[in-house]
């Protein structure tokens, strides 16, 4: 046979990535992902070291923080980012709010992703009655007004950061599970999964070793998109009085407390808004890069 038609021996293989360290190295090599990583790291540090970073007491309602008319102070001067309606230092409140927003953003979204992906994969892989029950339940959750559900849940339990995170997760997992369900269904029909069955692989191996890697791109995209909606949902809940309780600040409730003064004191909405955008952007950038890095067909290009 003519070997030239189907070269059997190729050039020597190149070294392969392995492990989290290699993924991190690749992330830092991509400028946009590195930018995202830096922002995320900065926010985590700010949340961790908030007590030492805050220039003033975030809860102190000081007369010095108000102008002669009793209005908030604009950025500049003693208060770097200005003050809010009660004369509290905005910079300090934002730094402390990083804790709340990050915990909510990462925790609530994390739970939502795990729950949504878990339900979607289980229903998609096993099909039959399992799928019927799980997906009808998902439909039910979808039909229920999310905000109403959140208010009811939050009213039943004492509002605390953890409860708020759980409530948000309960509302947000549904879309994820729908997407993952459909995708799992079509993956399960694919030949390489059939092959696994013909080898005799059990469900655990098929789910974790073969389905999950293919679902990861969707999970990452949905997970990172979920960060911003989560932070905003927390703000809505705070606004309705069932979220993070005042005077504890979060980026979301700072916006909502001050939104009516947008025209006179725009900085009160602008700065927390900017932080939410930055957080969402950072996660999206890292998520996009992660998706490419984990795809072996895209190795060596970007």
């Amino acid at each position: 046979m003519n070997a030239a038609l189907d070269p059997v021996v190729g050039p020597a293989t190149r070294p392969r990535r392995s492990g989290a360290r290699e993924v991190l190295r690749q992330l830092m090599r991509r400028p946009r992902a590195a930018f995202g990583m830096v922002i995320i790291a900065a926010m985590f540090l700010a949340a961790l070291f908030a007590p030492w970073l805050m220039p003033a007491d975030p809860f102190e309602q000081s007369f010095d923080g108000l102008d002669l008319m009793g209005g908030p102070l604009p950025p500049g001067g003693v208060y770097v980012l200005g003050t809010d309606l009660l004369g509290r230092d905005l910079a300090s409140r934002l730094i402390l709010g990083t804790r709340t927003s990050l915990i909510i953003g990462v925790l609530a979204n994390g739970i939502a992703v795990l729950l949504g992906a878990g339900v979607g994969i289980t229903a998609g892989y096993f099909g039959g009655w399992t799928a019927t029950i799980l997906m009808r339940f998902t439909d039910l959750m979808m039909a229920f007004p999310a905000l109403l559900l959140a208010i009811v849940l939050a009213a039943i339990f004492q509002p605390s950061l953890l409860i708020v995170a759980l409530v948000i997760a309960m509302v947000n997992w549904v879309q994820m599970s729908r997407v993952i369900y459909t995708e799992t269904r079509s993956l399960t029909e694919r030949e390489f999964i059939q092959v696994q069955r013909s080898i005799g692989s059990g469900p655990i191996r098929i789910l974790f070793r073969h389905l999950l890697p293919h679902l990861l791109p969707s999970i990452i995209v949905f997970g990172t998109l979920g960060i911003s909606t989560t932070v905003l949902l927390e703000a809505t809940l705070s606004y309705l009085g069932v979220g993070v309780q005042p005077p504890m600040p979060s980026w979301g409730n700072i916006i909502f407390e001050n939104q009516t003064y947008f025209s006179t004191a725009p900085w009160l909405v602008f700065f927390p808004g900017l932080l939410i955008v930055l957080l969402a952007l950072a996660f999206n950038l890292v998520g996009d890069a992660l998706r490419d890095i984990l795809d072996p067909t895209l190795q060596g290009r970007h």
Binding site: V8, T13, E191, V195, Q299, R301
Partner: protein
Amino acid sequence: MTQAGDIGSGGRRPVLTVHDLSVQVATDAGAKTVLDGLSFDLMPGETLALAGESGSGKSMTALAIMGLLPKPMARISGGSIRLGETDLTALGDSGYRRIRSARVAMIFQEPMTSLNPLMTVQRQITEVLLEHGACSRREAPARALRLLRNVRLTEPERRLSQYPHELSGGMRQRVMIAMALACDPEVLIADEPTTALDVTVQAEILDLIRTLQAEHGTAVLMITHDMGVVAEMADRVIVLRQGRQEEGAPVRELFARPRTDYTRTLLAAVPRLGTAPDRPVPSQAKKIVEVDDLSVRFNIASGLLNRTVARVHAVEGVSFHIREGETLALVGESGCGKSTIGKALLGLVPWEGSIRIDGVQTRGRSRPAMRPVLRDIQMVFQDPGASLDARMNVGDQVVEPMRVHGLASGSELVDRAEWLFRRVGLSPDMLSRYPHEFSGGQRQRVCIARALSLSPKVIIADESVSALDVSVQAQVLELLQELQEQDGLSYLFISHDMAVIEQVADRVVVMRLGQVMEDGPRDAVLRRPQHPYTKRLLAAVPVPDPTRQRSAIPDFAGVEMDSPVFPVGAAPFRVDLQDLGQGHRVARAETPRP
């Protein structure tokens, strides 16, 4: 290199002239030339075949002529395409719209995806007619009906109001041809028009294209990988390889005296029915697979309560056995249940009857209980690209069965992977690569290595070489044969391709609609076929020799009965096999109606 355009043009003016055409595709590594300086003339009424293996640029040529190159990735980087007096390369989108269908039409490989699933046949055809102002809105339905008659579609009146999913593959391709010919184009480009179809349907469609071409004087540009189709259809051939013209000649000359090595290799690799070497007489070795009265039925549920309204009788009362070191071929057209039998053997579909693998009864086994059986029987699937996990390196995949069955761990797995790779002719340095870095043939080798990793006694090869180029196909078949000789493996070889089956099989089982029509030793079934269906299958195989005419395809009673779907309670008539001696059995001639 000779210009194919110089040959066989008898002073008439060509309808289509392609001159020095080059196409580039943007890749990450920069522009890549996928078509390099192709030139040819297409005369009125002539059929020119562009033949080549995957990646030869044959489909790119068709897309370039149709102005359908995927933008912005691919572009024409040089040369010209002239249709009569019109320079197609200079046309914009709106200019092209007036040309397509009206002057150049194209039929594609997969008729299902080329038809709009939400439009009736009538609307799809009239849309083409009206778009080009071929007739008035009032005349359109009558014109559509006439077109369907032209393409010899049965019951054309009823077809008009049907949707694509209600038609069979062959009917859909006829509709596609009707649409392509709706405006009487000068040039018809047929891109692998029969590759997705069964052989008997392929033969009919090729006949149809030839007849219509004679009636209308259309010039046909036939794009195909199948040298049998080339021999049957073409007046002239251009062999393409990696975007370059390898050779161009009138068809008889090309087959009789190929000038380049590549063409010679390509022609040599084509399996020809009736040329396979003799195989030793079937042995009396131990029966390793015994299948008795196997039936597989799928329920079709519908309605509010998901009640079963009908059953697909995919496999109905099939019995056969495979001996040690023997290859049994299951042959039949799509939907005959041959793949379902493979799945039943592995316990992937629910079934009834009896299956013994190496003496072990597998009826009623749950998936975990099937596991020990699977060590003896493994499968190699049709599409090596789809049957490998794109996100796992091939080394891990090759030894995964051993991991699953707990047969080895750690460095032993690495040793084993290297050994398996060498056995299938791949270099062990490639173990850490991912499937996309391999060619189609190499991927199938990986799949074979994976199937071998448990040292099974039987391998089911389900259309395992159908998706490969002929030259690669020959190599993979050779590998399978080698492995059989070394290990005494048994194969269940499932295929639709009679010529391939002749190369590998010891015994052949011919199936239709879930039942066995004929079975027996290879030579008995393929050289002295008794059942009309077997004769029909054999007659439909395109002969890769332009000097030989394919004989007409015989019809047989019951040929129009083509669905294994029955309402609950009803069952297909079970055919009765008659023994002709020496293990040759055939279904009794008269196929009764249900």
